[in-house]
């Protein structure tokens, strides 16, 4: 049996129905989804080995690759890797594959179209415009340090290594923020009720809200690009059924599963051979290739290495903004 831990909510159901079921039908290997509130936490917990596969954010996957917690696989074991963009395959120091990117979402600026337009957010720098005072939101320091700061640095000519250029814009964003949001549900509510006009947010969430009938929630990719956020599946060390898990991971790396998940959840496959249905491309309003061009992929390893100090920095920025 292969047990796959992921976050709760709609994603878990999609995974079970559109990935695991066909996989089990094809291979006869039993699979199961379990929901946990904190997947990276689950991998780091002393009991991680009860899961065969765990979905984590790409960033966390990179962070985990530096630990001794993940099972490594060779390229031969996961043949589908050849179809994945190499920069999104997570490898450990020995070069073994420890994280399979499944699909990706991206970080753009999400806004309520009743209160603002795409024109308002042509650039990430617009977030610092004082006219949005009290109308924006920002994520908690732990994510702001990894995502917002990196993206804003890039928008101002910096990169993962040199985030200094992004600091000013981040300060502006912080100054404009009504609150930090603590959960996606929290943010959905704030956007939906119009209490927040715009926020750096996840593309999949927007797609989801639109599906739920919230047509006034839209996302824009500013001219500097969007931050590519892939989801990675890792296998904790010591988990049972390595062979079945290997087959499962390979399946996750394949185009078939990625397309299925993407279509259901609003994501985009990482597998280069993936062919998205036309209907889905219509709702996205763009193509995979087009999107890939707009994506900014920072060196997550560098981001991870500086994570703790940058959290401290963002915390202090936020605290200063209060004065």
């Amino acid at each position: 049996e292969v047990i796959h831990a992921t976050w709760g909510g709609g994603g878990a159901r999609t995974l079970g129905e559109f990935v695991q079921k066909p996989f089990s039908d094809q291979t006869g290997i039993e699979t199961r989804v379990v929901e946990v509130p904190n997947t990276a936490g689950a991998v780091r917990s002393p009991t991680a080995s009860q899961y065969n596969a765990v979905t984590v954010t790409f960033f966390e996957g990179v962070g985990l690759s530096g630990t001794d917690l993940l099972e490594g696989f060779t390229d031969e074991e996961i043949p589908e890797v050849k179809n994945l963009p190499p920069e999104v395959v997570i490898r450990n120091e020995e070069g073994l594959i420890v994280g399979i990117p499944t699909y990706f979402a991206y970080y753009g600026i999400v806004y309520n179209s009743d209160l603002a337009s795409a024109e308002d957010f042509k650039s990430w720098k617009n977030l610092a415009d004082p006219k949005w005072k009290g109308k924006l939101a920002i994520t908690r320091p732990v994510y702001a340090a990894a995502y917002d700061l990196t993206m804003l640095a890039h928008a101002n000519g910096g990169d993962a290594e040199n985030v200094e250029p992004g600091v000013e814009t981040l300060k502006g964003l912080i100054a404009n923020a009504l609150t930090t949001y603590t959960s996606l549900a929290h943010m959905n509510t704030l956007l939906g009720t119009g209490e927040v006009t715009a926020v750096p947010f996840y593309s999949t969430r927007v797609w989801h809200l639109q599906n739920e009938g919230q047509k006034n929630i839209k996302i824009v990719i500013p001219e500097e690009g969007g931050l590519m956020l892939a989801y990675a599946v890792v296998s904790p060390k010591g988990a049972a059924n390595r062979e079945e898990t290997r087959q499962y991971l390979n399946y996750l790396a394949g185009a078939e599963s990625q397309v299925a998940v993407s279509v259901e959840g609003g994501g985009i496959p990482t597998n280069n051979t993936a062919k998205l249905p036309q209907a889905y491309l219509d709702t996205l309003g763009t193509t995979r290739e087009e999107l890939m061009k707009q994506m900014y992929v920072p060196d997550w390893k560098v981001v991870w290495d500086h994570h703790e100090e940058r959290i401290n920095m963002v915390e202090q920025l936020m605290s200063e903004a209060a004065k």
Partner: protein, 265 residues
């Protein structure tokens, strides 16, 4: 003389009615037709209730929470009863210290407690099993169970058990025949109160769940990480109703006086 001035009375009533307000709001929001939580609802619908009942994850979580709550309530009540009886009868001198120890978890920040618990349970190799959750809940509920039982036992005439012994009963027999039935309301209070706490506990529990086990509040918490559909409000409303029924039951069978008895003296 036994009456309040109208002003105080009105003030008391108004403040009292504020207490359930947020719950009423959640209740109202659960009938919202649109895709996010809102009050007053812009359209009415019971679709979230239908979803709550048809999605097997919720049912499973509710059942798990219920049976864990039942086991925790029973165990902790038995544990508290034995401890309270022993100290009251044989070791009144340590009773102050014991109470201090028993109440100390109350002063411990819950987030830290979850972390602490997971470290311990991992060392014992039981994370992800129901035992980890049950054990952690025992730690969390001990003060809430000990209090009403201690109060109940303290008000029992200690000569009753001696009377039973003089009549030829062994101590255990006397406890079972005499003291247990007499402390009924304290015991029921403990059972239901700890049951409710266990049923609602999330902060510590979320560190301890595993592939085969998750509880309702953790499921809710997990759910809101990713989703904000009013199904949450519907589920919340259902859990409020379960809590309400439990309290009502308690009021019927044991009264609520145990909540308002002084700790000591």
């Amino acid at each position: 003389m036994r009456k309040l001035t109208p002003l105080t009375k009105t003030l008391g009533i108004v403040l009292l009615l504020m207490l359930p307000a947020p719950i009423v709001i959640v209740f109202g929001a659960s009938f919202n037709g649109s895709g996010y939580i809102q009050f007053p609802p812009d359209s009415w619908s019971i679709r979230w209730y239908i979803e709550a009942f048809t999605d097997p994850r919720w049912g499973r979580a509710v059942l798990t929470s219920l049976w864990i709550a039942a086991i925790v309530a029973t165990l902790i009540t038995a544990i508290s009863f034995l401890a309270a009886y022993f100290t009251l009868r044989y070791a009144p001198r340590i009773s102050g210290w014991l109470e201090l120890a028993i109440f100390s978890p109350l002063f411990f920040p819950h987030a830290s407690m979850g972390v602490a618990a997971v470290a311990l349970m991992a060392a014992m190799g039981i994370v992800g099993t129901p035992w980890a959750i049950i054990l952690a809940h025992l730690m969390v509920t001990l003060p809430f169970s000990y209090r009403p039982i201690h109060v109940a036992l303290r008000s029992v005439d200690p000569d009753l058990i001696r009377a039973a012994e003089v009549l030829g009963a062994s101590e255990l027999r006397a406890l079972w025949d005499i003291i247990l039935p007499i402390c009924r309301s304290g015991i029921l209070t403990s059972l239901l109160f700890t049951g409710i706490i266990s049923f609602d506990e999330v902060t510590v529990t979320m560190f301890l769940i595993g592939p085969d086990i998750t509880t309702l509040p953790v499921q809710i918490f997990t759910f809101i990480q990713d989703d904000a559909s009013p199904v949450l409000a519907a589920i919340s409303t259902l859990s409020v109703i379960i809590t309400f029924l439990a309290i009502l039951l308690l009021e019927r069978v044991a009264g609520l006086s145990f909540f308002v008895q002084r700790q000591s003296g």
